[in-house]
């Protein structure tokens, strides 16, 4: 990876964070769903990055979002878990010729990328909502929120990835 690509990811990191803490955190769709779109940054980081670096990036990013939404540690935990599982999931879904590439509609194929992203989002969101609640009281409600937010996030992810796909073609 050359410095230009790293700089590009740096900008993306900032952009995702800003959009998350300034816009998406304030969306409370029908009182249950808040999209956590910033996980898309972690999902689409190239697979050539080592898992340790990935987890460190995820921890920092999650913690920043946490501090801005007063859920300290919760997003960090969910993001680190998600990043820890990412290489294993990549092995499952990535086609052989996509080794080391950034996951996307183009490199993974639409169906495979969707499944991969969905699993990652579900891990993050269920982990986040369960830990955020901290209890098993109203477990059904918590799971429902996690599910609703996952759907919301997935819709946004598909829109953005589709836009990138059309743009890069």
């Amino acid at each position: 990876m050359n410095s230009k690509i790293i700089l590009n990811y740096g900008w993306q990191f900032l952009a995702y964070l800003l959009v998350q803490v300034m816009v998406l955190n304030y969306i409370d769709f029908m009182g249950v769903a808040t999209p956590y779109l910033f996980v898309l940054f972690l999902i689409t980081l190239p697979t050539e990055i080592s898992t340790v670096s990935l987890m460190l990036i995820a921890f920092v990013m999650g913690l920043i979002v946490d501090v801005c939404s007063d859920t300290v540690g919760v997003n960090a935990f969910a993001c680190v878990l998600m990043s820890y599982l990412k290489p294993r999931l990549c092995k499952l879904f990535a086609p052989a010729d996509a080794e080391g590439e950034a996951p996307s509609f183009r490199s993974f194929g639409k169906g495979r990328f969707f499944q991969f992203a969905l699993l990652m989002v579900l891990v993050h969101h269920f982990c986040f909502y369960l830990l955020e609640n901290g209890t098993l009281i109203d477990l059904g409600g918590t799971l429902f929120k996690a599910f609703e937010s996952s759907v919301f996030t997935m819709v946004l992810i598909c829109c953005i990835e589709y836009f990138k796909y059309r743009h890069n073609r």
Binding site: T51, L56, G62, V74, L81
Partner: protein, 283 residues
């Protein structure tokens, strides 16, 4: 030692994973603990700053609603302020207050305080609307006075509202006199300046000076005698044998807020008697 390092190298991913997760959990639980949650929440100096900066951006998203809220509160406060001001004026420069009190004490008169909900003073047929009506005992042909003088006469009532013909209506005609003089005249308005009315039918031999008070004559059941109307602002001869008198009205019609409607207890009796008297004359 070498084995230990190799162990770390092999399991480094898992160890980093565990460390980060434990750190996150420690943060989660110390944050939940009120005593220790001072470093990583929004009361932290750095994050507080960040929120401040964020708020300058996110503030724009809610500006519309904030504006609406402020406007609503403003209008509420303004209403409160104006009613408070009206009340202050009511008691401070109220020249009719003592008179009203005396009348009310005599038992023959009572007053209904009403708010003026619509008013005009720039047309020639001006009307006022009050927020009280027949449900509060107001009937047509009742006198209406304000804080600083006579306002007009009720012309129509509905259950909760009433219409007043103020002095500022070219069809208004009020029987008045100059204070301490027995000669009565008619107060009319010619549709010019809302601050002045004309006093007619006062013969030239009556000495009327600038500054004399003009009060109601009491020759009707509408107003009791001596209610303040205004001050003579100009007095001079006209072409006929009457004086031309301009009266500066006590009431400022441009800022009427609260008025009192005068209820004369014996009005029906007087009216009936008057009707009987005219009937007998006709027979």
């Amino acid at each position: 030692m070498e084995t230990l390092i190799r162990f770390f190298m092999i399991f480094k991913t898992f160890i980093v994973f565990l460390m980060l997760e434990v750190l996150s959990l420690v943060l989660v639980f110390t944050y939940n603990d009120y005593q220790h949650g001072q470093y990583f929440n929004s009361s932290n100096e750095l994050v507080g700053r960040m929120y401040e900066v964020m708020n300058t951006v996110t503030g724009y998203f809610s500006l519309n609603r904030t504006n609406e809220d402020l406007a609503r509160e403003n209008s509420r406060l303004k209403t409160q302020l104006s009613s408070a001001q009206a009340m202050i004026e009511y008691y401070r420069e109220d020249s009719t207050y003592m008179q009203r009190k005396a009348l009310a004490d005599s038992g023959n008169y009572s007053f209904v305080t009403a708010r003026v909900i619509s008013t005009s003073f720039s047309k020639s047929h001006n009307y006022l609307t009050l927020d009280k009506g027949s449900a509060d005992g107001i009937q047509s042909e009742m006198g209406v006075i304000g804080q600083t003088g006579v306002v007009g006469i009720v012309s129509a009532v509905s259950p909760h509202f009433s219409i007043v013909i103020p002095l500022l209506n070219i069809s208004s005609r009020l029987s008045v006199k100059v204070k301490n003089k027995s000669q009565t005249g008619a107060l009319v308005w010619k549709g010019e300046d809302y601050r002045y009315a004309s006093l007619e039918e006062v013969p030239t031999y009556i000495p009327v000076a600038k500054g004399d008070s003009v009060v109601t004559s009491g020759y009707s059941t509408i107003f009791p005698e001596g209610m303040y109307v205004g001050k003579v602002s100009r007095s001079g001869r006209s072409s006929d044998n009457n004086l031309r008198i301009d009266v500066s009205l006590g009431i400022d019609f441009s800022r009427l807020a609260y008025v009192d409607v005068i209820k004369f207890k014996n009005a029906p009796e007087v009216k009936k008697l008057q009707e009987e008297g005219t009937d007998e004359n006709e027979q």
